[in-house]
Symmetry: C2
Subunit: 341 residues, 2 copies
DNA sequence: CGGATTTATGAAAGCGCTTACATACGGTCG
DNA sequence: CGACCGTATGTAAGCGCTTTCATAAATCCG
């Protein structure tokens, strides 16, 4: 009509190849149902017309989009970046594409993001953690959108995760074994964040098992700076010999603060992390932390979600964590100098 | 038909609200064109029916998807994770959603990803760097898909980036000024990667300006380990006093290797990075590096892409880099001990 | 107060594809 | 050799929405 050529459609291809639109469609979606000779003609026509199927039309007619969505708190946190990367790569390349949104740890925003992704045709969702307004789960259920929860475990909903409480408990156990009794914790913000809360509570419980409690607890937003500041406060106000951190970034910040305060790690103070991201092995000394299989979790989540999308059952997967005893832990300094020579 | 209620459609909403489908559509897409009274009725109907528009139908009829795409080499590299995060947040919340794919630095895979995103309805793309088969650009042009290139600069195509060569040149300039002459470089893989190549060439040119050349150059994949290994090799085979690294992760690896080899940094050897990601400020000593405004770049790219999608002109943006002189640089150790006391 | 505007809504024609279902055509087998 | 069957392709009916155009109602103004 206008001089600007409009895009080729199935009809154009069908006409040029001398077949019906149904055959063209079949060539694209179920090539084995078309004999090679015909298929060749069609493919040639597609090539010469530079044809690509219209996404909307295809989605409308087939009721499938091949889009799956993920909402994470932030990509700035390496654990999510790595998990998402693995998640994406676990899907068969051409078949699915990944729609990503980040919520900045804001429940309201997360909710909007979820709705936005579903509105954009996501046929399955990966979400982080369990903490969430029940209405959101209800909404998802109404729309029959399958989802899998990651970075957490133990819920009746489908998840691919690990046990935050058990992981931190193992770490606290080791610290207790070293002889520490004056222990503090720098935790991530626990509100609406079951991972952080699980770690804090798991640690507290482990301590309670030994008849102890934290000398101090700081709850701070994710970040190097916040970890450093929290460490300074804690040290200034409590006679602690060990600081358990809710994640590696907080621990790295604490470690930096310790250095700047002239404290030797681990001789003067023990500092531990959680996650075992890259950062943990470049601090000096290297960070004692808990390894979490973030990548593996991402791919397991992908596998599980695919099953759910296909209407199969799909079993949640619980991944193990592992204590990485590196260089930031040691027995507490003896205050009691009357000990045997 | 079946007992399983199928989803509500515009028709259902229209019927319940006692209006036409056109009005329902307008309520959703241009509320100001419907008087409040009517709008209320419609919204109520939408609520009671739990209606959400069908994505495919909407895309088909309106020829818009509200999906924009991005292909990065990997999310594991913090620079991309941060850039993407900012990119995503720069779009008006409900209006767009971000489709992400990672290419693992594989041009072939990148190409497939680009096609997959466009096939999924992406109406604009963010790509990393310029190096790319011209056929890809041709393809994009044919389909009239606007795109913006990030993390690089100087091309005639729309970009939001910075000058890799200038950034590294400033760093090399400083190292030369300190008196170093025996210099080596650990570069990222340059094939198909204009960022790495720009940094390597920029450094080489800066050196040539002082009549020098590198004593050694290692070209290695991204990673802490590869950086460490390259550093060991370089030190073992060349009498270098400074090692310029193509990025912070390589530099952090080199720094760790230096520590393990018993070298003091910066007294024995100067090590520099590029990017200024978090990691750069937790090494010990903190890394001397080049700051790149990754987040800012992400949001500028988003702004530019939106203009292009809207059919406006849109001007490329060149962001400045900045030398961050921290703790890993110093004058070279004097071999000549006859210097004045 | 009547004709000219403006504004709110409705009717209906697609958007470009997928997919029953129908058809045609060889080949099999009793 | 005819009834039957399987396979390759065609016909055409939607999928659920947006949008143009038409119409009806409200508003304005001389």
């Amino acid at each position: 009509m206008s001089e600007k050529t409009t895009h080729a459609t199935v009809d154009d291809v069908a006409a040029l190849a001398g077949v019906s639109t149904a055959t063209v469609s079949r060539c694209l979606n179920a090539p084995e149902r078309v004999i090679p000779a015909t298929r060749e003609k069609v493919m040639a026509a597609i090539r010469t017309l530079n044809y690509t199927p219209n996404f909307g039309a295809r989605a409308l007619a087939s009721r499938r989009t091949g889009i799956i969505g993920a909402v994470v708190p932030t990509l700035e946190n390496a654990v999510f970046a790595h998990g998402i990367e693995a998640f994406e790569q676990a899907f068969p390349p051409g078949k699915f594409a990944l729609l990503i949104a980040s919520s900045s740890y804001d429940p309201q925003r997360e909710r909007e993001q979820i709705e936005a992704l579903v509105a954009r045709g996501a046929s399955g969702l990966m979400l982080v953690g369990f903490d969430r307004d029940p209405a959101v789960y209800e909404w998802l259920k109404n729309r029959r959108v399958p989802y899998v929860l990651a970075w957490a475990s133990g819920d009746s909903r489908p998840y691919a995760g690990f046990d935050n409480e058990a992981g931190i408990a193992e770490m606290v156990g080791m610290v207790l074994e070293l002889g520490h009794t004056e222990i503090a914790m720098i935790s991530g913000m626990t509100e609406g964040n079951d991972r952080a809360r699980g770690r804090l509570e798991g640690a507290r419980r482990a301590l309670a098992g030994a008849g102890l409690d934290f000398r101090g607890v700081a709850e701070v937003p994710y970040g190097l700076e916040t970890g450093a500041r929290a460490f300074e406060d804690l040290i200034a106000n409590h006679p602690v010999t060990a600081v358990i951190c809710g994640n590696d970034v907080l621990a790295a910040g604490a470690l930096r603060a310790a250095h700047r305060m002239g404290l030797r790690v681990p001789q003067d103070v023990t500092i531990t992390g959680f996650d075992d991201i890259d950062i943990a092995s470049i601090t000096h000394p290297e960070l004692t932390t808990v390894r979490v299989p973030h990548r593996r979790m991402g791919s397991e989540a992908a596998r599980l979600l695919q099953q759910l999308i296909d209407g199969k059952e799909g079993e949640s997967v619980l991944l193990p964590t592992r204590l990485m005893a590196r260089g930031t832990h040691a027995p507490p300094r003896r205050k009691d100098l009357s000990a045997p020579a």
